[in-house]
């Protein structure tokens, strides 16, 4: 699925935001909760106000997991195995294809906001494929 060129581009994008990963994570989550309110149903226990510590903390976790995926593009299944179990058996987020698509969209909007024109069509394509691949792995054990 991900070509050698895609992998290179994903690494490039990741490097570009390496200084503000925590911010990116928190912003992506915040945008997701505001733009797609149905996603809040998975976080009834969170303080979802702008700047909340829980959003920052969780955003950091999500980005760290994505960062791990970026480091293991050749073996996503194994790298995300624990998370795959978590999403399938504990979190049971509505078909990852759909729910994670919403996070993917918001994540890409944040990248576009931060990188502007530097978020080229080629990078956009590679990141979109990467996020789809991650979602597919997380959905593997659903049934």
């Amino acid at each position: 699925m991900l070509t050698a060129e895609d992998k290179k581009l994903v690494h490039q994008v990741w490097d570009k935001v390496s200084g503000c990963q925590e911010e990116v994570g928190a912003e992506a989550l915040e945008r997701m909760f505001i733009t797609f309110p149905q996603t809040k149903t998975y976080f009834p226990h969170f303080d979802l106000h702008h700047g909340s510590d829980q959003i920052r903390g969780h955003g950091k976790k999500v980005v760290a997991a994505l960062g791990n995926a970026v480091k293991n593009l050749d073996n996503l299944s194994q790298a995300l195995s624990e998370l795959s179990n978590l999403h399938a058996y504990n979190l049971r987020v509505d078909p990852p294809r759909f729910a994670l698509q919403l996070l993917s969209q918001c994540f890409q909007v944040v990248l576009a906001v931060h990188l502007g024109k530097d978020y080229t069509p080629e990078m956009h394509a590679a990141v979109d494929k990467f996020m789809s691949a991650v979602a597919a792995v997380l959905a593997e054990k659903y049934r």
Binding site: T35, V109, A125
Partner: protein, 147 residues
């Protein structure tokens, strides 16, 4: 009928007022063809679509992108009757163009990303909410007359 709050209308109008329709339209369509290459199936007579560079530079893509986003402007002008605005276009996309409505959703998401890249921090979460809602409503209206 879709309800738009005063804030949503204002956020939509303020962004639209600053959009270069030709540039954003061209970019959105080019990205659709690059990020989701299967969408090229609808544009077999557009000439060279063999690479991202070719697609971005393709004059037919630019022209059609402008056309599509100009039409989008009709929705912005007629927020209270998007259904009516796109009635004929919906029929066209179904009967003549044979476009799977899923593609409208894809283009909508891409347009949001293009706006984000152009407006940066000015494309606030509240803006994103209003615009995702708008592209969703447009996609729905375009699919409405399918049979």
């Amino acid at each position: 009928m879709v309800h738009w709050s005063a804030e949503e209308k204002q956020l939509i109008a303020s962004i639209w007022g600053k959009v270069n329709v030709e540039e954003c339209g061209a970019e959105a369509l080019a990205r659709l063809l690059i990020v989701y290459p299967w969408t090229q199936r609808f544009f077999s007579n557009f000439g060279n679509l063999s690479s991202p560079t070719a697609i971005v530079g393709n004059p037919k893509v630019r022209a059609h992108g402008k056309k599509v986003l100009t039409s989008f402007g009709e929705a912005v002008k007629n927020l209270d009757n998007i259904k009516g605005t796109y009635s004929k276009l919906s029929e066209l996309h179904c009967e003549k163009l044979h476009v799977d409505p899923e593609n409208f959703r894809l283009l909508g998401d891409i347009l949001v990303i293009v706006l984000a890249s152009h407006f940066g921090r000015d494309f606030t979460p509240a803006c994103q909410f209003a615009w995702q809602k708008l592209v969703g409503v447009v996609a729905h209206a375009l699919a409405r007359k399918y049979h």
